[in-house]
């Protein structure tokens, strides 16, 4: 079961990497949220009820429902736009696959008994692909999505390492992600008004 979920997660990653239209991100983000929920539910069965509720909230409500809706709200009217990126289509797919292979190799190198290699692979792939998306794409929404993908990776990583953080920290992390997404969203809206574009290449007035 877990293997199946992780593989699905990686497949969503590959899809995210090759997406060219903003609209296509929303279901994938929602799917990732659901997958993460299943994973954490399976993994952390013996933890306390409070923590379970928290994780439920984090994955299902926040990641699977709130974020896609929020994205949809802020990208209203431009969801069908095509991305401008230097590495396109199949090449980005190939690159994403390569990154996944790299993370497999890295995970394979880690001979740690407490480390779940499967999770670790998924987590590193997620982080790598998130960074790849951010570097490769020029649209600000994609940057936001990249950030979320990276955060998903970090979440996976924390599952991979077994819950080490105290409650306080976990809730803080949740709050942090929530507020940063919120702030980014708000600023994104403002940017749209001011610059009349969401292309990051136009966002380069501050330089030397």
């Amino acid at each position: 079961m877990i293997n199946f979920v992780i593989i699905s997660f990686i497949i969503t990653l590959i899809y995210i990497a090759k997406i060219e239209m903003v609209k296509s991100y929303y279901p994938l983000m929602a799917a990732q949220g659901v997958l993460l929920f299943i994973l954490s539910f399976l993994e952390l069965q013996e933890t306390s009820a409070l923590q379970l509720i928290l994780i439920l909230f984090e994955t299902l409500i926040f990641k699977a429902i709130f974020v896609p809706l929020f994205l949809q709200a802020i990208t209203k009217g431009r969801a069908h736009r095509h991305q401008h990126s230097p590495v396109k289509g199949y090449y980005s797919l190939l690159l994403a696959l390569a990154l996944i292979v790299v993370s497999f190799v890295i995970s394979h190198q880690m001979h740690e008994e407490f480390l779940d290699v499967k999770y670790f692979t998924a987590a590193t792939s997620s982080i790598f692909i998130g960074l790849f998306i951010a570097i490769n794409n020029r649209d600000l929404v994609t940057h936001l999505i990249a950030y979320l993908v990276i955060e998903n990776g970090i979440f996976l990583l924390s599952i991979a390492l077994g819950g080490e953080m105290p409650m306080f920290v976990n809730s803080a992390i949740l709050l942090d992600i929530f507020t940063s997404v919120l702030i980014m969203g708000l600023i994104f809206n403002r940017l749209k008004d001011h610059f009349e574009t969401t292309d990051a290449t136009h966002l380069s007035q501050l330089k030397d």
Binding site: L140, L144, Y147, L157, L161, M184, L203, D208
Partner: protein, 468 residues
Amino acid sequence: MITVVMAVITYFVRHRVLTHVMVLTYLAGLGFIAFNLYEHLGEPLGEYFYCDRLGFIFLIILIIVSVLSGIHYITFVEYRNVPREAMALHNAGTIFFTGAITGVLFAQHFGVLWTAMEATTLGASILIYHNRNQHSLEATWKYVFIASIGIAIAFAGILFLGLAAHKIGHVDFTFAAIKSEASRLNPVWLKATFLLVLTGFSVKMSLVPLFTVDIDAKDASPSLVGATLSSVLMNAGFIAMIRFYDAFSLTSILPWMNNVLLITGMLSLVLSASYLLKVRNIKRLFAYSSMEHASLVTIAFSCGGIGYLAAILHLIMHSFAKASLFLQVSQMHRIYNSKWDESIGSYLRINPLGGLVLLLGFLSIIAMPPSGMLITELMMFQALVAKSYWWLAAVILVLVLVIIYGLAVRLLGILFIKKPGAQINMKGATPWESVLQLVLIVMVFYIGLFRPEFIVNNIQKALEVLPL
């Protein structure tokens, strides 16, 4: 106690009453707390916090700088006709930011430290956003985005540490616990943790590799925010870095950490030198100068021994000098309505007191006597010589000369040379503020000349734990 502070913050954040009094009251309260804390030095504060000397010293600096920029903000609002909403948001942001930094300073748990650090990003983003124009939007976006990714990277690092700790069955995540167990942990994970944390926090410390957005932030925000960012926030970043360094300092990776810090510092120094040669925007100029000092601190720290003392003292003095300079820039901006050096000229003639601040501030940041940074740079070189890094010392010397050249050309040009394009509006000059800034700089001089035993002793005690 800190949780109480947090509660106060949230109260103010919700409360949108538009008054500066609250900020100042809050800071006064913080000062009061600090006053009380002095008796509790070395005692834990609640579960996740711990009152140590290092944090305490920087708390004092935090209060001084924030009070000054708070006062400055009052004039700023009057002069600029800042909308009430923006003002309220700024004040709330200040309180949130200050509280978050206090959290960073006293955190005793890696996770809490991380949380507080993330909170500073959010607080800072509110402050940077203040002007609400294209530049500030761009800067805020970049800052939040890059800082968040940096923070995520740092969190991954902390997770690695957790992995390592988990392996030996240890689950307590406080500094003290990790430090005592560190030698049993797998050095590879520790290295990964340190590297990722350094990378993640570099945005706060204004170091390579994430320095870029920090510079933009200081440029696009009001100068008083720049003052806070390049003093208080930078200190907090360094404190966080030092916590990790301290925790791992008893293990075999100490030389490795030193080397990494040295590389980081050198890269940052080269970059800042190259920028200082060409930058013409005075705010960015000071921002890069902060980067230079951050790299000097890093280099000093990486050398160990007397370098630790040099690093901390340098941070303290840099906070004072840079805060006063940034605040002065705000005044200049009002007088000339520009931040570009080609339209700011003969400042010493136009505003003698402000010019004096700029001149003395310039002397302090290029480490000319009576600036105390001379002493710390001396210590830094001493540390380098003690480690026989001769070539590095020579390179650093050349780069520092380049930096002085860059700063001197711009700043002395502003002070003395008449620029034809300058449009002067003397209403912007506020002599009493300049006097306050002068006091800060005089403090730098005082430290340089007289070796205040109180500060030095406290730093030395705080640093006793580090390996020599």
